[in-house]
C-alpha cells in the first residue's frame, strides 16, 4: 500500500506540474486531495493493514498530503504570478506617445505685468486704487496744473466725448487728485492702474488704448532721494538686479522737479542698438515730486507735505521684458500671442 501511496504521489506531482489554469488546478485538487480523491481512497483501505503497519502508513499518508497541499499552494501561487505578469505585459504602452493634452487657460500679458507691478509695490507699502476711465477735463488736466490751452496739453492727444468737458483719461494721473481728496490729511502710498486712451494713430509703438500704472506717495518727509530709491528698486526687481538705472531731468506739468527713469538697454546691454535708438538706455517711466499746485488741489499744504508721483506703461515694460516688437499684438487678441505668456 505504501507503494501505491508513493506511486500516487509521483503521479499527482507530475500532473500538477502540467496544469496551467486555475480550473485545472482545482480539478487536480479534487482528484487527489478531495473528499473522494485518490488520497482519501487510499486511506479508506487502511483497514486492510495490520495494526503494526497502520501507524507508519498513516504517518506517510499525512506527509504525502502535506507535500501535495504544499505543492498545490506553490503551483497556485506561481500560476497567479504568471497570470499577473501576463496581464502587466498586455498593458504595456508606447511611452513615447504624446500625453493627453490639458487645455490650460492664460492670463493676458498685460494683466500678468500689472500683477508683477502690484506685487513689487505692495512690498513697499503701496496699495492699489482704481479711478474712472471717463474723466472730466478738470481732473485730467486742470487740477493737474494744466489750465485750458496750456502748452503741456500737447503731450497728450485727447479723445473728447460729445459732452463738453468730458473726455477719456489720457493718463492715470487724475486718480492722484481723487485719492488725495479722499485721504487728506493721511499719508498716502498708492498705485493706480487702469486703461488710458490717446488720440493717436496705431503704429508699432503707439496704441490708442493702453494700460498705465500711476504711483503716488505723500508724506511729511518724502524727498527726491526716496523717489529714486523706490523706483530704482522697482526697476531692478522688474528687470533684474544687475540693471543700471539713471534718472534724467524731464518735464511733467504736475511734478516739479520732474525726471525720467532709464535702464540700460536690456537688448544690447548699453552698447547701443535699434531698440534703444543707439543710446544704450531705455526709458521706462516718468516721475517727479508732486507740484505744489497739485498738492493744494488735493487738499495738502505743500509747505508741510511733500510727495512723489510716477507713471509707467505695463505694455512697454512687457515689450522690453519679452522682446515684443509691436504694441499692436496686445489687443489683437491672437491666441498664438496670448498663449506664450505663462
Amino acid at each position: 500500500m505504501l507503494d501505491q501511496l508513493h506511486e500516487m504521489e509521483g503521479r499527482a506531482l507530475a500532473e500538477l506540474a502540467g496544469h496551467k489554469t486555475e480550473q485545472a488546478l482545482e480539478q487536480w485538487h479534487v482528484a487527489f486531495l478531495g473528499r473522494k480523491g485518490a488520497l482519501t481512497e487510499l486511506l479508506r483501505g487502511i483497514g486492510r493493514l495490520s495494526a503494526e503497519e497502520r501507524p507508519a502508513f498513516g504517518q506517510e499518508a499525512n506527509r504525502v498530503k502535506t507535500a501535495l497541499e504544499k505543492a498545490y499552494e506553490d503551483r497556485a501561487l506561481t500560476l497567479k504570478q504568471e497570470a499577473a505578469l501576463h496581464q502587466l505585459a498586455r498593458e504595456q504602452v508606447d511611452v513615447t506617445l504624446p500625453g493627453r493634452p490639458i487645455a490650460p487657460g492664460f492670463l493676458h500679458v498685460s494683466t500678468r505685468t500689472l500683477r508683477e507691478i502690484y506685487d513689487i509695490f505692495a512690498a513697499m507699502g503701496f496699495q492699489v486704487v482704481e479711478a474712472p476711465e471717463v474723466e472730466t477735463d478738470i481732473y485730467n488736466f486742470q487740477l493737474l496744473n494744466m489750465p485750458p490751452h496750456h502748452p503741456a496739453r500737447d503731450m497728450w492727444n485727447t479723445f473728447h466725448t460729445t459732452h463738453e468737458g468730458v473726455l477719456l483719461r489720457t493718463h492715470t494721473s487724475p486718480g492722484q487728485i481723487r485719492v488725495m481728496l479722499e485721504h487728506c490729511p493721511e499719508p498716502i502710498r498708492v498705485i493706480l492702474p487702469g486703461k488710458c486712451y490717446r488720440y493717436e494713430q496705431v503704429t508699432a509703438r503707439h496704441e490708442f488704448m493702453f494700460y498705465q500704472v500711476e504711483g503716488l506717495a505723500i508724506g511729511e518727509h518724502l524727498t527726491m532721494a526716496d523717489l529714486k530709491g523706490t523706483l530704482a528698486s522697482f526697476a531692478r526687481q522688474m528687470f533684474g538686479p544687475e540693471r543700471k538705472v539713471r534718472f534724467r531731468a524731464s518735464y511733467f506739468p504736475f511734478t516739479e522737479p520732474s525726471a525720467e527713469l532709464d535702464i540700460d538697454c536690456v537688448l544690447c546691454g548699453g552698447k547701443g542698438c535699434r531698440v534703444c535708438k543707439n543710446s544704450g538706455w531705455l526709458e521706462i517711466l516718468g516721475c517727479g515730486m508732486v507740484h505744489p499746485n497739485v498738492m493744494r488741489n488735493g487738499g495738502y499744504d505743500p509747505a508741510c507735505y511733500t510727495g512723489f508721483a510716477f507713471g509707467m506703461g505695463p505694455e512697454r515694460i512687457a515689450m522690453l521684458k519679452y522682446g515684443i516688437d509691436d504694441i499692436r499684438h496686445f489687443f489683437a487678441n491672437d491666441l498664438r500671442f496670448l498663449q506664450q505668456f505663462v
Binding site: 506617445l97 493627453r100 493634452p101 487645455a103 487657460g105 492664460f106 493676458h108 498685460s110 494683466t111 513697499m124 507699502g125 496699495q127 492699489v128 474712472p132 476711465e133 471717463v134 474723466e135 490751452h149 502748452p151 503741456a152 503731450m155 479723445f159 468737458g165 493721511e186 499719508p187 486703461k195 486712451y197 494713430q201 496705431v202 488704448m209 518727509h221 518724502l222 524727498t223 527726491m224 532721494a225 526716496d226 529714486k228 530709491g229 523706490t230 530704482a232 539713471r246 534718472f247 534724467r248 531731468a249 524731464s250 518735464y251 516739479e256 522737479p257 515730486m289 507740484h291 505744489p292 511733500t306 496686445f330 489687443f331 487678441n333 491672437d334 491666441l335 498664438r336 496670448l338 498663449q339
Partner: protein, 823 residues
C-alpha cells in the same frame, strides 16, 4: 529742434567731446534724440575743396565738358562732367572735388546707394575723379548741377573741415521752449559746461529816413500783443541766399526760399523770435500813398483774409490780426496774407518782430490746422525782450546779403512790459525736496550759471532769486529746485528707501475679487483677452437681429473718434468677444476666451458714466484638444459654459443662484438662461448658445458658440466676505439612489429643490446622475436618477432613519410634482 554744432559754437565754446555733450544735455532735460554727422563719410584726403582752372569742351560729346581742377599744391587734374552750371570758359569757381577711390552716393539712383570712384574713361577721355553734386555728397537731393562753394572756400582743404558738421536733434518738452533757439541751447550748454555765453548785442547800419515817418504802429488789443517792433529796409534785391546760409537752414531742417525769407527763418532759429516780412510797396499801395499804419487787433465779424497758401479764410472774432487801413494783412504769428507777401520783385521790406499771446496763438493755429515754426514758438511763450535784437539782426543781414538801405530807428510799440520776477528760495527748500544737503554756495552757483541773479541779507535768510527774462517757465521755488538739480546732476541725489510713516493699509476687496475671478477663469481653461473699450453701433446691432437699432443716446460718444468703428464706449463685451472668437477660429479649432472689463453706462443728471465691470466668456469648438486617444472630442455646448459659471459661483461662495430659462435675441431659443441671485432678484446676466442668425452676422462658422456676459459687481455683492469651516462627518454616510419619473417639461431644478427641502438636514447631497427617456417610461415623461447621501453629524444612521427620510422625499415628490418613483 535741430542744432548744428557749428552754429552753436558761435554762441558757446564746446569743450566736451560730442557724445559726452549729448549725454550731459540729455540728463539735463534736453534729450538728444539723434546725432547726425554731416560729412563723416567724406574721405579726408580724397574729397577736397577744389578750384576750377579751366573748362574745356569734350572732344566727342556736346553735353559733357572737361573741368580742370586744382586742389592745393599738386598738378591740376582733369575730370569729365555733365553739369549744366559750368560752361566752357568758366574759371575760378570753388567746387567739391572727389579723387578716385572716394566713396560717394550714386547721384543717378533714386535709392540711397554708395559707389567708389574708379579711374574711368568717359567717351574716350580719362577722368581723374569727379566734381560733386550736393546729392553725391549726401547734402541734399540736388543733382541738377555741381555744388559751387563760396569764393572764399580754401582750396585744398578737406571738404569735411569746410562743410562738415554735427547736428543734434533735440526732443524738447513743452516747457523747454527757451531751447527752440540756438542761443537758448547755447545758454544751457554754457551753464552745463561752465563756459561763458558769447553774445553780442546786434547792431544795424541805418542810412535811410526815420522809420517813424514811414510806418505807424498801433496795438488795439495789448492783452494779446504785448509788443510790436518793426524795421524797414528799402532797395533790396531778392535772390537766393548764399550757400552757407542755405546750408545752415537745411541742417536745421528748413528749406531755403529766398534771402529775405531765409533770413527771417535764420534769425528765428538763432534767437527764437519769429519774424514776418511784408512787402512795403504793397502796404504803400493799400494806404493810397499815405503812411501805412499797422494796427494789431482782434478780427471783426465777417472779416476775411486770403493767406499765403491761397486760401480765403473766414476770420473768427477772437483771432488776432495784423491790419492796415485797408483791412487784415496777416493772422498774427500764424500765417501771412497773400497780398503783402514778399515776392521776387519786392524791393522794400517791412520786418515785423512782435510778441503775441500764446493762448490766442495756439487757439488760432489749432482752429485753422496751421502748425508752423512760428506758432510752435509763440504758442509756448516767448519773452517780449527779444523783438528788437531779432529785428536788428535780421535787418542788418538783409542789408549785407540783399543790399538796400535801412530806415533809421525801430518802430516799437510796447504797451505791456513784463514784471521782473523774484522768487524766494527758503534755505531748507532744496534739501526738503531733493533729500540731499547742498551748500548755499553750490545752490547759488548753479542758479547763477543759468543766468539767475541771487541775493540775500544773510546766510539764514531765504535767497532772493531774480529770474532772467528768457526763463518764462520758472515761477515758483520748486522750479528753482529743479534748476539746481539739473545743474548738480540727478545722479548726485542719493537713493534712499521710504522711511516715512506707512499709511494706513486697507484691503481692496474689489481688486482682490477681480484677481480671483480672472484666476478662476484661467483655471477653467479660458484665455484672457483685452478688447477695445470703443465700439460701433453696427457691431452692437448684430447682437439683436430683430430689435430696434441701438439708440446712440444710451452711449458715451466720442467727439473725435479715430475711426467710425471706434466711436462709442461700449455697454456690452459680447460683440467684441464674438469678434475675437471669429478671428481666432480662423486658425484655431478650439477657442475659449474670457474678458473682465468695464462697460460705460451714462447716468442722467451725472457728468460721468457708471463703469461697472463685466465678465464675458465665449467658447466654441472641441471641448478638449484633439488627441490620438480621442480624435473626435465633443463640442462645447451650453453645459460646458454653465459648468464654468457654476464653478465661478461656487468658488465665490455664492449660493441662492438660479438659472432661469428665458428668451434673448442674441441667443438660441431654448438654450439660454438668465442668472439671477437672491436676495433681491438680481439679474446678473445671460449665458447660452448664440442664435445661429447672430452667428452668421458675426461671420462665425456654423458650429455651436457659447456666450455669457455677467455683471461682476452684482456677483461680488452676493459673495460673502467670509465663511466658516465645516467638519466632514465623523459618522458613516449611507447612500441610496432614487429615480423619479416626471413630466418632460418640468425643469430639473424643481425636482432637486424638492428633494433637498424634503430631505432636511440629514440629506447631505443629491446628485443627478442620469436622465432616461424611452422604453418603460411613458411618452412625455422623463426619468431623473439621483444619488442621495444621508449623514448625521452626531450618530450613525440606522436603516430605519434612512428609510424614513427616503419615504419623506418620495411623498414630497409625489405630492408637489406628481412624480412617480421608478424601481
Amino acid at each position: 529742434m535741430k542744432v548744428p554744432l557749428n552754429w552753436l559754437k558761435e554762441y558757446v565754446d564746446i569743450t566736451l567731446p560730442v557724445p559726452e555733450l549729448a549725454e550731459r544735455m540729455t540728463l539735463a532735460g534736453m534729450e538728444v534724440e539723434t546725432i547726425e554727422h554731416i560729412g563723416a563719410d567724406w574721405d579726408r584726403d580724397k574729397i577736397l575743396v577744389g578750384e576750377i582752372v579751366e573748362i574745356r569742351p569734350h572732344p566727342d560729346a556736346d553735353r559733357l565738358t572737361i573741368a580742370v581742377v586744382r586742389c592745393g599744391s599738386g598738378d591740376p587734374e582733369a575730370v569729365v562732367t555733365g553739369a549744366p552750371n559750368v560752361k566752357v570758359g568758366d574759371r575760378g569757381q570753388k567746387v567739391a572735388f572727389a579723387r578716385n577711390g572716394a566713396r560717394l552716393i550714386d547721384g543717378h539712383s533714386d535709392e540711397l546707394r554708395y559707389l567708389t570712384l574708379k579711374p574711368s574713361k568717359i567717351r574716350g577721355v580719362l577722368s581723374a575723379g569727379m566734381v560733386c553734386s550736393e546729392k553725391e555728397l549726401g547734402l541734399s537731393g540736388e543733382h541738377e548741377g555741381i555744388l559751387i562753394l563760396p569764393d572764399d572756400a580754401p582750396v585744398g582743404m578737406p571738404l569735411v573741415d569746410y562743410l562738415g558738421d554735427t547736428v543734434f536733434d533735440l526732443d524738447l518738452n513743452p516747457n523747454y521752449a527757451r531751447c527752440l533757439s540756438i542761443i537758448g541751447v547755447a545758454r544751457e550748454v554754457a551753464a552745463l559746461t561752465g563756459q561763458k555765453l558769447k553774445q553780442q548785442e546786434p547792431t544795424m547800419t541805418a542810412a535811410g529816413g526815420s522809420i517813424a515817418d514811414l510806418v505807424g504802429i498801433e496795438i488795439s488789443d495789448p492783452d494779446l500783443c504785448s509788443r510790436y517792433s518793426a524795421t524797414l529796409i528799402r532797395g533790396v534785391h531778392v535772390g537766393p541766399s548764399p550757400l552757407w546760409l542755405q546750408r545752415r537752414l537745411r541742417l536745421a531742417g528748413q528749406r531755403p526760399v529766398n534771402c529775405i525769407v531765409d533770413i527771417t527763418n535764420y534769425v528765428m532759429l538763432e534767437l527764437g523770435q519769429p519774424l514776418h516780412a511784408f512787402d512795403y510797396q504793397k502796404l504803400l499801395g493799400r494806404a493810397a500813398g499815405g503812411r501805412p499804419v499797422i494796427t494789431v487787433r482782434r478780427a471783426r465779424p465777417g472779416e476775411k483774409l486770403t493767406t499765403l497758401d491761397h486760401i480765403e479764410r473766414q476770420l473768427e472774432e477772437n483771432m488776432l490780426l495784423i491790419t492796415d487801413s485797408s483791412g487784415p494783412i496777416a493772422l498774427a504769428g500764424v500765417i501771412g496774407g497773400l497780398e503783402t507777401e514778399i515776392s521776387d520783385d519786392t524791393t522794400d521790406v517791412l520786418l515785423e518782430s512782435a510778441n503775441f499771446d500764446y493762448l490766442s496763438n495756439r487757439r488760432t493755429s489749432t482752429l485753422l490746422h496751421l502748425p508752423s515754426e512760428a506758432s510752435l514758438r509763440f504758442g509756448r511763450g516767448i519773452p517780449p525782450e527779444t523783438t528788437v535784437p531779432a529785428a536788428v539782426r535780421a535787418t542788418e543781414f538783409m542789408r549785407q546779403l540783399a543790399g538796400g538801405v535801412i530806415a533809421t530807428g525801430i518802430a516799437d510799440a510796447y504797451p505791456v512790459k513784463p514784471q521782473q520776477r523774484t522768487i524766494e528760495l527758503p534755505r531748507a527748500e532744496v534739501e526738503r525736496l531733493l533729500g540731499v544737503p547742498l551748500s548755499r554756495q553750490r545752490v547759488v552757483e548753479s542758479l547763477q550759471a543759468l543766468g539767475f541773479h541771487c541775493s540775500s541779507c544773510s546766510e539764514e535768510q531765504p535767497i532772493q532769486v531774480t529770474v532772467p527774462y528768457y526763463r518764462l517757465d520758472v515761477e515758483i521755488s520748486a522750479d528753482l529746485v529743479e534748476e539746481v538739480a539739473r545743474m548738480v546732476g540727478y545722479d548726485q541725489i542719493p537713493s534712499t528707501l521710504l522711511r516715512d510713516e506707512l499709511p494706513p493699509q486697507r484691503r481692496n476687496a474689489a481688486l482682490e475679487a477681480d484677481l480671483r475671478v480672472r484666476d478662476l477663469l484661467v483655471g477653467c481653461g479660458l484665455t484672457e483677452v483685452i478688447t477695445y473699450s470703443m465700439t460701433n453701433l453696427d457691431s452692437v446691432a448684430r447682437l439683436d437681429p430683430t430689435g430696434p437699432a441701438p439708440d446712440p443716446a444710451d452711449y458715451i460718444r466720442l467727439a473725435n473718434p479715430l475711426t467710425p468703428e471706434r466711436e462709442y464706449l461700449r455697454r456690452t463685451l459680447s460683440n467684441s468677444l464674438l469678434e475675437a472668437l471669429r478671428d481666432n477660429l480662423r486658425f484655431s479649432p478650439r477657442v475659449a476666451l474670457f474678458e473682465v472689463a468695464r462697460v460705460y453706462l451714462p447716468q442722467t443728471g451725472q457728468e460721468l458714466p457708471l463703469e461697472p465691470r463685466r465678465i464675458g466668456i465665449v467658447l466654441s469648438g472641441p471641448k478638449h484638444p484633439v488627441h490620438w486617444n480621442q480624435p473626435q472630442p465633443g463640442l462645447f455646448d451650453y453645459f460646458d459654459l454653465k459648468g464654468v459659471v457654476e464653478t465661478l459661483l461656487s468658488r465665490l461662495r455664492i449660493s441662492n443662484a438660479a438659472f432661469i430659462a428665458v428668451e434673448a435675441p442674441a441667443y438660441q431659443s431654448g438654450r439660454v438662461a438668465r442668472l439671477v441671485l437672491q436676495p433681491g432678484d438680481v439679474d446678473v446676466g445671460l449665458l447660452g448658445e448664440v442664435n445661429p442668425v447672430v452667428r452668421d452676422r458675426f461671420d462665425l462658422p456654423a458650429q455651436r458658440v457659447c456666450l455669457a456676459e455677467l455683471d461682476l459687481e452684482a456677483l461680488l455683492a452676493h459673495a460673502p466676505e467670509s465663511y466658516r469651516f465645516e467638519a466632514a462627518g465623523r459618522y458613516p454616510a449611507s447612500a441610496q439612489d432614487m429615480a423619479v419619473v416626471v413630466d418632460e417639461g418640468l425643469p430639473a431644478v424643481q425636482v432637486s429643490d424638492c428633494i433637498r427641502r424634503a430631505g432636511g438636514r440629514l440629506l447631505r447631497s443629491a446628485e443627478l446622475f442620469d436622465i432616461y427617456r424611452g422604453e418603460q417610461i411613458p411618452q412625455g415623461k422623463k426619468s431623473l436618477a439621483y444619488s442621495l447621501r444621508y449623514q448625521a453629524p452626531d450618530r450613525t444612521l440606522t436603516d430605519d432613519d434612512v428609510a424614513r427620510q427616503h419615504a419623506r422625499i418620495q411623498r414630497a415628490l409625489e405630492k408637489e410634482l406628481a412624480a412617480e418613483l421608478r424601481s
